[in-house]
Amino acid sequence: MNEVVISTTNLTRKFGDFTAVNNITFNVKKGEVFGFLGANGAGKTTAMKMLTGLLTPTSGNALVAGYDVYSGTEQIKKNIGYMSQKFSLYDDLTVEENIRFYGGIYGINKKELNQKIGEVIESVGLQSVRKKPVQSLPLGWKQKLAFSISILHRPKIVFLDEPTGGVDPITRREFWEKIYEISDQGITVFVTTHYMDEAEYCDRVSIMVDGRIEALNSPEELKKSYSSRSIEEIFIKLARSASRGQG
């Protein structure tokens, strides 16, 4: 399958004199697990905001799930899922209420939603706490629940922004199994992480430096072309070459 679900051409965003994202051009294929790496301040968040329809680019083009990032932002939002480490769930709503709330936002009808609630709760193993407020759950469970909710409406693409930060090592791996599972079902996964071992789980990895995409390939090919043993080595090498003021 070679269907392209994200394609950008010279995508750029400036804030005043500062070019946060500088002419990035890349494609992501259907079902691909695409790792989006970069040091703090390299421009990842700005790029993700443009791809999710939250920020208008200064110049360049991009199509996400078939829709234009200038004119089709509402369509984009309906066709993608998004989960971030910082915010995803309502702490004072129960597990079930959170699923119902997001299902409502995505316009899933009541009958289907009732069925989905059961499915999600079972797949994450939250049967015993479905009526409990989310704040009482351990972080790892919350993250798994937030992930399941982000794909509730079967989006074409799911954007995961540091989904595993602070999570214990077993749960972190269970989380990646879920990523493989949905990629197997044809959902494209666009993921950022600070865990460099997780970069190795991706089909392809891009590394941003100073607003540009400095490297993009499969982990294997990247290691070959940089004669490195790990993505971490390459990341450190590239990120150290950054000229952007750290201040």
Partner: protein
């Protein structure tokens, strides 16, 4: 060797949540000691007991020879504390922040400049910038400078590298190594297991309990089972096939390889290779590998105790 921190059977609950369950450990003078564990392990609660902000429900703790409950006033001026959530005044400039912290502890920047110089000098070009406008890595350096400004005997760092990129993390640990050389005792917590190797000793902590406490080398050596690294093109299929194997003990993705242990006493690479071929997985690479801290942590977590020599 002098004991700088001595925690004995400390417990602390918040409502129904047992944050710490009878935790005991000691930290020696000059050590770089790591508390390694995920969110919710109890690391922050432990820091707040050590820095005298929280009183344990039971058990006791002494820091720098003084009791954390009775003698907190003696302990506080000798501590440097960097909380996990950002602790600076965002609307003050870099210079104002450091001067503020210096004056609270009755000192001046000039007095201990030598100690903070390697870190603070990187911030000086931006000394008139508000702390809120600094990048994550720079904020972290400023917070560390502020925690050091009164030349503390003990430095408590609660998850200083969480959410920080791999380069800044590396630089931060280099700074800790040089502070250790100055003779400062450092206790640092982190959810990144690979950082354990940079500590003299670590406590692996999970759900309010210490799973193991030792030097990183000894912890790794306690993993006695043969560990295999297995790799193939289709990782997801390989993972599923291994999980369904009747002899599987543990199987965890680990970067480009999957780490695998077997419940049989003796397993050869050939046996595994044959099984994987039978299951339709081709181009398999199987190697023997050395376990790391994360392997041990996961083994302890899942109670695969037979593989661990305690």
């Amino acid at each position: 060797m002098n004991t700088v921190v001595n925690i004995s059977k400390a417990s602390k609950s918040f409502g129904n949540v047992e944050a710490l369950k009878e935790i005991s450990f000691e930290v020696n003078e000059g050590e770089l000691f790591g508390l390694i564990g995920p969110d919710g392990a109890g690391k922050t609660t432990l820091f707040r007991i050590m820095n005298t902000l929280l009183i344990p429900d039971s058990g006791s703790a002494t820091v720098l020879g003084s009791d954390v409950v009775e003698d907190y006033k003696i302990i506080r001026p000798q501590l440097g504390y960097m909380p996990g959530r950002f602790s600076l005044y965002l609307d003050l400039t870099v210079e104002e922040n450091i001067q503020f912290f210096a004056s609270v502890f009755g000192t001046r920047l000039e007095e201990n400049y030598d100690l903070v110089k390697p870190i603070y000098s990187q911030l000086e070009p931006f000394k008139n910038r508000r702390a809120g406008a600094l990048s994550g890595g720079m904020k972290q350096k400023l917070a560390l400078s502020c925690a050091l400004i009164h030349k503390p005997k003990l430095l408590l760092l609660d998850e200083p590298t969480t959410g920080v990129d791999a380069v800044s993390r590396k630089e931060f640990w280099e700074m800790l190594a040089s502070l250790k050389n100055e003779g400062i005792t450092i206790i640092v917590s982190t959810p990144y297991m690979d950082e354990a190797n940079l500590c003299d000793r670590v406590a692996l902590i999970q759900k309010g309990e210490i799973l193991q406490i030792d030097t990183p080398d000894k912890i790794v050596n306690s993993f006695k089972k043969p560990l295999f690294g297995i790799k193939s093109q289709n990782k997801y299929k390989l993972l599923q096939v291994l999980q369904n194997y009747q002899w599987t003990d543990s199987v965890h993705p680990f970067g480009e390889y999957i780490h695998y242990t077997d419940i049989r006493d003796k397993t050869s690479r050939e046996t595994l290779d044959d099984y994987l071929h039978e299951q339709g997985i081709s181009e398999v690479e199987i190697i023997s590998i050395k376990p790391n801290i994360e392997d041990v942590f996961m083994a302890l977590m899942s109670g695969e105790r037979e593989g661990i020599n305690e």
